[in-house]
């Protein structure tokens, strides 16, 4: 509906003012880590080391990191099929993520979930979801818990532009609004639901417009600008924590890769993809940090080298981890209790 004033950049970006140098560097590191994690996962997949499918969010790192930056560790998120970035951003270890992709007992889901169900409940990530919009009502439920038990938590609910046409989106936003629950709906609008563009699937051109249908604030922000995302989400999160209810934040972004590993990319042009690659959120945020003397070129190099090492070690951890025992295929369906 409306763009956040942040974009006009009167002087310094929000993030530079709002966070410490360490926090800002950590945000950049996380974006790197996400990028390298996904490139590593893609590579392992290509080499036949990981099976199934995966949905890469390369190019979308700012919305995940910018959103989670606005949260406390105890706050919670629900994620999507394209959920690696959310998981890392909320504090997961890439070693256990790789272990999950390799189907190992040391993985976050003990090898039962894989990429589409990656989670880290201890860090507040209630899970990716194989069902488009499947996590939206769950996020509202988590927010209900926060409100009823007075935990002070806020919940970020990530979903895609395609998900906004699911009934679950509508029902959930309505309930969250009526009950004024502490949840922030973050729509990562990468302009396609699989192959179907917003124009061909969605009756409004900006998804934030739909906030009007729930009488809640709705903002569209540059989703490749970490600071804009962080600003919008922290505002929405404060609002939520103060009892004023949910907001809808639409982050305009783009995925560089195909939808999943089986995509022939017939529905968009090379030019469009190349154009968006120029808007790399990591490079952009790196420039901002350098401009504002938060980080030096050397430090950035070091950061990158460290991340590369972390990824190598993580893959090694995953490969050398034990596989689940075939006898335990029905373990964890039910909680074990003494009858």
């Amino acid at each position: 509906m409306m763009s956040k004033a942040t974009d006009s950049r009167t002087n310094v970006p929000f993030a530079i003012n709002a966070y410490t140098k360490e926090q800002l560097k950590e945000a950049l590191r996380k974006m790197y880590l996400i990028r390298k994690f996904e490139e590593g996962a893609e590579d392992c997949y290509m080499r036949g080391l990981i099976h199934g499918t995966m949905h890469l969010s390369i190019g979308q790192e700012a919305s995940a990191v910018g959103s989670c930056m606005a949260l406390e560790e105890s706050d919670q998120i629900t994620s999507t099929h394209r959920g690696h970035a959310h998981c890392v951003a909320k504090g997961a270890e890439v070693s256990r993520m790789f272990a999950e992709f390799f189907g190992k007992e040391t993985g976050y889901c003990k090898g039962r979930g894989g990429s589409m169900h990656i989670a880290d409940v201890a860090k507040g990530n209630l899970g990716a979801n194989g069902i488009v919009a499947g996590g939206i009502p769950i996020a509202v439920g988590a927010a209900l818990t926060a409100k009823r038990l007075n935990t002070g938590k806020v919940v970020i609910c990530f979903f895609g532009d395609g998900a906004n046409n699911e009934g679950a989106f509508h029902e959930s936003l309505n309930m969250a609004a009526v009950w004024k629950l502490p949840v922030v709906f973050v729509c990562e609008n990468n302009q396609y639901g699989m192959s179907t563009s917003i124009e061909r699937s969605t009756a409004v051109s900006q998804i934030a417009t739909r906030a009007i249908a729930y009488d809640i604030p709705g903002f569209t922000v540059d989703g490749n600008d970490l600071s804009s995302v962080a600003e919008a989400v922290s505002e929405a999160s404060s609002r939520a924590k103060s009892g004023k209810g949910p907001s809808l934040i639409e982050c305009m972004t783009y995925r560089w890769r195909g939808h999943s590993k089986s995509d022939r990319n017939r529905y968009r042009t090379k030019e469009e993809i190349e154009d968006w690659k120029k808007k790399d959120p990591i490079l952009r945020f790196g420039e901002v940090l350098k401009d504002h003397k938060v980080i030096t070129d050397e430090e950035m190099k070091q950061l990158e080298t460290d991340v590369d090492k972390e990824i190598v070690a993580a893959i090694e951890f995953a490969q050398s981890s034990p596989s689940p025992s075939l006898d335990e295929v029905t373990r964890d369906v039910y909680t074990e209790i003494d009858q």
């Binding site: 209630l126 499947g134 988590a142 029902e171 309505n174």
Partner: protein
Amino acid sequence: MSSAPVQSAEQDSVEMSYAEAIRDALDIALGEDERVVLMGEDIGVYGGAFQVTGDLVNKYGEDRVMDTPISELGGAGVAVGAAATGLRPIFEFQFSDFAMLAMEQICNQAAKMRYMLGGEVSVPVVMRFPAGSGTGAAAQHSQSLEAWFGHVPGLKVVQPATPYDAKGLILAALDDPDPVMIFEHKILYKQKGLVPKGRYTVPLHKAEIRRAGADITIVASSIMVHRSLEAAELLFDKGVSAEVIDLKSIRPIDKQTIIESVVKTNKLICVYEGVKTLGIGAEISALVAESAAFDYLDAPILRLGAADCPVPYNPELEKASVPQVENIYQQALALCRREL
């Protein structure tokens, strides 16, 4: 005939209806644990479509007895998310038929979350489904869909037939760390029975022999338990001693109780209100046919379920579409006489 209450002597029981017994359980739950919330359509000031929640909203307030918008998928999902994060929601579907809108959150999310996340989370949600025909509400308000839920690993599914069990199973469901689906029968809501005061639980995974017998085993669930008991009386007059088992739990099914009975009686008939084909009787039949009891069978295993049609509106057709006492009696008699 009902199993002994965990903690109360006969004199501590009172007569109440099945609906009142459920309300009593909800009242105890709300009183004991602030994490318990009731959610559903018109369960507040209206008291629920079948007056199950009654006046609980006055006692516990709108934050604990929450009227939801008409949003079954989202509402059930909110209950699932709340359960996964620390509340103990009890979600009422106004009619079990509307659960079709929420299958995704129940069966893709609640049932699988624990497993998909490697055991790192539990989803202690309780859902209540008023089910069954007999109210003249036709095809979209009269179904018995418990078989669908029984097919889904991760869920537990029960069908109380008495006020005693209704209360005890709800409290057991609340104590359980996993999602429990409770199929209640609309026609039973007004049925009365003795119910102990205070807290007690009925095991979620056990069938119960309601009437002992030697000649034929009738496994029935929900309202069909009562019809089968009536049929057993008629059979008795014909010299046939029927054992009637109240199934209670659809997932898991208490194999042992059924098999022991069949080993004794050598004949089995399953009576249920859901559509016959792929209904719970199919599973009971198959469980016995694959078990050691197979060798004890003297006759085919019969199933009496609903006719192969949606539930019709006309009251006579409606009756004709689901098993009645007379059908059970006739079929059981024919089976005993091997006159099929």
